[in-house]
Symmetry: C2
Subunit: 177 residues, 2 copies
């Protein structure tokens, strides 16, 4: 599995069921959301802008895409969780299945952040992102083309302590494009 195949498999609408474990106080949070992942063209203005801000040449990128989510948590039912992010893989020319993932908005902080990704031998996409005061580790893998799982850890910036661990089961929606 390479990054192009991984992005291709991810395209579509997903119904996501996510549990977050807030480890320090053993709290369970349940989040239901709908996630739309659509491919972008390499010359999409938003992609061009993002690459420019990281000084990345467009010839280096592959399979840019947009992720949009809308969901609700049982922790605060009034708060709508909603957002959209543009993601641009920049494969390492020297190391197969490894590279940078640019994004215009991070998870743990609402600023632009670039992460380091790799794909393992068993087809798991692993993304490590370091922020100012935190680090995020994400693993995504497919059980079959219509079901994927995502484990996300939010760590202290030193990377040793895990604050939150979350697990999402994502089922391809039949109304998927």
């Amino acid at each position: 599995m390479d990054i192009t195949q991984f992005v291709e498999l991810s395209i579509g609408r997903w119904r996501s069921q996510r549990s977050a474990h807030h480890l320090a106080f053993s709290h369970f949070e349940a989040v239901q959301s709908v996630i739309d992942i659509i491919p972008l063209s390499v010359d999409d203005p938003a992609v061009v802008d993002l690459c420019k801000s990281y000084n990345i040449d467009l010839s280096q990128i592959m399979s840019p895409f947009q992720m949009t989510w809308e969901g609700q948590s049982d922790w605060d039912e009034d708060a709508q969780m909603k957002g959209s992010s543009i993601l641009v893989p920049v494969p390492d020319p020297d190391v197969p299945n490894r590279g940078k993932l640019l994004r215009d908005q991070g998870y743990a902080e609402t600023i632009a952040a670039a992460g380091d990704y790799h794909l393992t031998e068993d087809g798991t996409f692993v993304l490590l992102t370091t922020y100012d005061r935190a680090a995020a580790e994400e693993k995504i893998w497919f059980a079959n083309p219509n079901l994927r799982f995502r484990v996300s850890l939010i760590k202290t910036s030193a990377g040793t302590g895990v604050l939150t661990a979350s697990f999402a089961s994502e089922i391809r929606s039949s109304s998927s494009k």
Copy 2:
């Protein structure tokens, strides 16, 4: 990481926070439990009996252990989840980091079951167990020596459909031996 190191890291008392996603009806289940993992000696009578029932010679086994759990689910607060199981790794002499895991009681069905395990390059323990009417896939990995994660899938016996996906965050208890 080999199976001996993996079992050694697992020895102790763990406070487990587990979320189960029942995928067909988007149900979230939350389970809190305490798990005790203790090493057994190779000549423990229960280990000897289990090996005999699988026609496995004691010279082939490594790091047998016992797992005991006691917990409570938010789905049925009256039902105590409680059990104990003896597990015996039988490494494949020809393939590194691969083998059988015997156990005297399975997860999905309460009968003895042997699974196939392997350890991936990034230190994840993967266990596949096939039952009469279901199959289970389990992945366990350590974030650090005091925190491990476990993803368990219960599949149809054909292995394609996933019925339940669950995720556990397991923190080493300070009262650990």
